[in-house]
């Protein structure tokens, strides 16, 4: 009844008009912006109502309409509870892409978007330079000064100032092209995987990438990286640049398609440690018409994408290493939206955490661990106040939980939590799931085995 794909504004109009949403309201309680405001317009049902009013010519899109669309975090929590299966993420991508056709953004915003989306993110060299510039600005105090005194974009500089300190260049090395498996494993365990390093991960969270690689090799995988794969285009798709998202999707598909010069075969899994990226990479086909050859190629790539926890959990269950990590205080887990709502991955991260013996310090549950932290890609930079307001109840929950280590699985969420925790003055550390597992594994691997491996035997 409704079109299979929503790719263009015409299709959005079709879809909104023949919409599966019948206004039942089950989405209301899940929506962070509705929870924050109590205004139905700022709920999934309300936004769909607006889209439908536009589709039926009962409403002309104006600033208020665009603001409501941009207020949405695209966390897709509503999709997890929608009985009619409304595809809010897809609808939002197209609504945002088309809504500036008649009302162009300001010159400054267009310039910033061009720099960010078209120059910086797709380009490894530009990312590397920006990493160094950012480190300089952080170390010299320039960024702090800009965040307080800049005549323009002060909020955005403040958002940059909240980023984690960039590590020195020698720690920001890209991973080696191949890393062999460590230790002895049953033959079913030894395999080749391709690891996606991501765009900002090597600059901001290089230690997470290293931990991911180590975990994979310790579980018996030979890890390859692919220098041609840089940015997956998720940020573009979520923020109204479908053209940019399509072009990056094509680059990514090209990069991973099996050919002699690369390690990739049609069955090599691609492990992704950023939930927002893995969710998007599984859905690249949405960007192309089903008759377009790129559509089938995107689907072939999607079959190989596995989130870190999705790859690791079953292997860990099979290996059953004796994992211990004595911590001084309880730990908790916050599930990134694009992991639980975007990919329905809920049990795997918990299975991984349950396989580790944390000593006397138990795992505590975080209330609302499936609700959005307000990071939402670049949302925290675009709408810093809303983003902080959305995180507030979660910070309360974190405080109530008593946890001193919060684990998540997405760089945006990690940054958002870190800056919120600093703002509140809480004493809680934030780590990626891979870092915790790496710690636990490194403490459980028998020394002899490690030595043997390091000697290259």
């Amino acid at each position: 009844m409704s079109p299979a794909k929503i790719r263009t504004s015409e299709e959005l109009v079709d879809y909104a008009a023949t919409l599966d949403c019948i206004h039942c309201g089950l989405c209301l309680e899940t929506c962070p912006t509705y929870q924050l405001t109590g205004v139905e317009t700022s709920s999934p049902r309300g936004r769909i109502h607006l889209m439908r009013a536009v589709a039926e010519n009962n409403l002309v899109p104006d600033d208020a309409y665009r603001d409501e669309m941009e207020f949405c975090l695209v966390c897709r929590h509503c999709e997890s509870v929608c009985p009619a299966g409304v595809r809010m993420g897809e609808m939002m991508s197209v609504a945002r892409d088309s809504m500036h056709e008649d009302a162009p953004r300001s010159l400054g915003v267009r310039l910033a978007r061009w720099l960010g989306f078209r120059v910086l993110l797709p380009n490894r060299a530009a990312l590397r330079i920006s990493g160094s510039l950012l480190r300089f600005a952080q170390k010299s105090g320039l960024l702090r000064w800009l965040a307080e005194h800049s005549p323009v974009a002060r909020e955005q500089f403040a958002a940059l100032a909240a980023l984690p300190t960039v590590a020195p260049a020698n720690l920001r090395r890209m991973l080696p092209a191949r890393s062999p498996a460590i230790g002895s494993h049953s033959s079913s365990q030894t395999s080749v995987v391709s690891m996606f390093e991501g765009c900002v991960m090597p600059e901001l969270y290089s230690q997470v990438n290293r931990a991911t690689e180590t975990v994979l090799t310790r579980l018996g995988a030979e890890v390859c990286t692919n220098p041609a794969a840089v940015c997956c285009g998720a940020l573009h798709a979520h923020n109204g640049d479908l053209a940019g998202a399509r072009s990056l999707a094509q680059k990514l598909i090209n990069a991973y398609e099996p050919r002699e010069s690369t390690e990739d075969s049609a069955s090599t899994p691609i492990v992704v440690n950023s939930a927002g990226c893995s969710a998007h990479m599984k859905e690249l086909a949405h960007l192309f018409d089903s008759a377009d050859p790129w559509h089938a190629r995107a689907e072939a790539l999607a079959k190989r994408i596995v989130d870190f926890s999705e790859y690791v959990a079953p292997r860990l269950a099979e290996e059953q290493p004796d994992l211990r990590l004595d911590l001084s205080a309880p730990i908790t887990w916050d599930n990134p939206c694009h992991l639980c709502h975007g990919q329905s991955i809920r049990e795997q991260p918990l299975d991984i955490l349950r396989s580790i013996d944390f000593g006397s310090n138990a795992f505590v549950e975080l209330e609302g661990s499936e609700s959005c932290c307000g990071s939402a890609g670049i949302y925290s930079a675009l709408r810093p106040q809303d983003s902080a307001d959305i995180l507030d109840p979660k910070l309360d929950a974190l405080k109530d939980s008593g946890a001193k280590l919060l684990i998540t699985s997405n760089p945006g969420c990690q940054m958002q939590w870190q800056s919120g925790i600093r703002r509140r003055g809480l004493d809680v550390e934030v780590k990626h799931l891979a870092e915790v597992l790496d710690d636990a594994l490194s403490r459980s691997v028998p020394e002899s085995e490690l030595d043997a491996n390091e000697r290259g035997e």
């Binding site: 009844m1 008009a17 023949t18 919409l19 599966d20 949403c21 019948i22 206004h23 039942c24 309201g25 089950l26 989405c27 209301l28 309680e29 509705y34 405001t37 109590g38 205004v39 139905e40 317009t41 709920s43 049902r45 309300g46 109502h49 607006l50 009013a53 009962n58 409403l59 104006d62 208020a64 309409y65 409501e68 999709e79 997890s80 509870v81 929608c82 009985p83 009619a84 299966g85 409304v86």
Partner: protein, 479 residues
């Protein structure tokens, strides 16, 4: 209203408590009955009883009509705005004010979501019993207005059985406290009168509710049938033999398929003609004896399979499927008309048959899901509101279904209320004198008829009453 009044109201509720942009107001144009739409002039979202009262005083002075709104999940148009009117929404009043575990009650703000109350008290082994299918979204204030039901109301009774007290803001902004410490009200039961008044008596802002102890043992059974008739016959027999499960629900084939396609897929078999979902609660011996008797009726009536939920997760999943049924119908057609009527439970089978015939005659797609325990039918008609002729046929079917229920000795509403949807049929169910009496009661609470005007009681009946009392003709009043 002029800009001065707008800013006066803004000063009361704050910037975030007022929705007045012509775009932002659009989603408030309807409630769950999307076929009826009217954009209001303004939406106000007060945070407290005091703010509500202050708003109501200003609106009283200005003579502005008011439509109260919970979460807008009602299905009878009870929260459809009126032209030039103001919507007062409860969505920002969602605090639990007091949780008294020993005396087993809670005091809450009226905008608290139904399911949040159970969540707040479940660690004390207590729960709030009325469980409408929209319980994850609908507000307790909205439940008061509609006297809402739900599957388990078969055992526990509708909302009215659970309300111990109310704080009400009246039409002119006065705050009335009807909260009593005793379970049995002294004098007139004004709380009882208020529950189910669909926003025509005032706005409840705080509610004192009874909490119920969680039963020690719960058994959930799913019986699978090849046809809807056998499922109805089973329900009728269960009641006739005085078995007391806490809920008896039936879903037909089209509903099963829609649910199974959704995120709430509960494992109902797609090839079944109907499923009957029932639950037995109590002490171990009691539960196993009742469940034994129920199983006997299942096999007597030709159930092809009976499943028992093995654990809480499976039980919740069976219920989540039932409660997501309404929304899941969006998979069948863009719009859904949910009828709501009651018949004596001995007439369930015949009435279901009749709704099937009405739908067939008018060439409409019908999916039926109902609270069989209460004799509360929900024939769901799937349609597309862009097809004018289909809309006409849907309304025709709705009218005929409601009238047949009344003819069968039943009632216009099981739980959704009258709202705008069933206004016309009120005259079918009640004599003119009855409606006139209701109008007299309504006039005591709202002499200017500004509270949810045009809902619940047909305007004509009201105008006639007033004419009789103040010696004017209905035409004079209409003017």
């Amino acid at each position: 209203m002029n800009a001065k009044v707008h800013s006066e109201l803004r000063a009361i509720v704050g910037d975030r408590g007022i929705v007045d942009s012509p775009t932002r107001i659009v989603p408030y144009e309807s409630d769950g009955l999307a076929i009826l739409r009217q954009r209001p002039e303004l939406v106000l979202l007060p945070r407290t009883t005091e703010e509500t009262a202050a708003c109501m005083q200003v609106l009283h002075r200005e003579g502005v009509p008011i439509v109260p709104r919970g979460a807008g999940t009602g299905l009878a148009g009870g929260a459809t705005p009126v032209e030039g009117g103001v919507v007062i929404g409860l969505a920002r009043m969602r605090e639990v004010l007091e949780l008294n575990v020993e005396d087993r009650f809670a005091r809450v703000q009226a905008g608290l979501v139904n399911a949040s109350l159970t969540r707040a008290c479940e660690k004390h082994d207590l729960f709030y019993a009325p469980d409408p299918s929209s319980q994850r979204a609908c507000t307790l204030g909205g439940n008061i207005a509609a006297n809402s039901g739900g599957p388990h109301c078969f055992k526990y009774g509708n909302t009215t059985q659970h309300v111990l007290g109310l704080v009400i803001v009246t039409h002119d902004g006065e705050v009335l406290e009807l909260t009593e410490s005793d379970v049995e009200p002294l004098g007139y039961d004004l709380v009882g009168l208020f529950v189910g008044s669909e926003g025509t008596f005032g706005i409840a802002t705080e509610i004192k509710l009874r909490l119920v102890r969680r039963p020690p043992v719960v058994e959930t059974l799913l019986a699978i049938f090849t046809d809807l008739d056998s499922a109805c016959e089973t329900a009728t027999k269960m009641i006739a033999r005085r078995l007391e499960p806490s809920a008896i629900e039936i879903l037909d084939k089209l509903t099963i398929q829609a649910v199974e396609d959704s995120v709430f897929a509960a494992g109902y078999p797609r090839e079944a003609g109907a499923v009957l979902l029932t639950e037995v609660e109590g002490l171990e011996e009691e539960v196993s004896a009742t469940s034994e008797d129920i199983r006997a009726i299942f096999s007597e009536c030709g159930a092809i399979e009976v499943r028992t939920a093995r654990d809480d997760a499976e039980r919740l999943s069976l219920w989540a499927g039932r409660k997501g049924a309404f929304g899941a119908m969006g998979r069948v057609a863009p719009d859904l008309y949910v009828a709501d009527a009651c018949v004596p439970r001995t007439k369930l089978g015949a009435m279901v048959q009749q709704t099937v015939e009405i739908a067939k005659e008018l060439n409409l797609r019908l999916a039926t899901v109902f609270h069989a325990g209460d004799g509360n039918l929900h024939p769901n008609i799937c349609y597309d509101r862009r097809d004018q002729d289909e809309v006409r046929r849907v309304l025709e079917a709705g009218r005929r279904i409601l009238e047949s229920c009344v003819d069968a000795g039943g009632s216009l509403s099981g739980e959704h209320g009258v709202g705008l949807e069933k206004l016309e049929q009120m005259e079918y169910q009640f004599a003119a004198e009855d409606l006139a009496t209701m109008c007299l009661v309504r006039d005591v609470w709202d002499p200017d008829r500004r509270l949810n005007p045009g809902k619940l009681i047909p305007l004509r009946a009201c105008m006639e009453t007033r004419a009789a009392f103040i010696g004017k003709t209905p035409q004079d009043i209409a003017r």
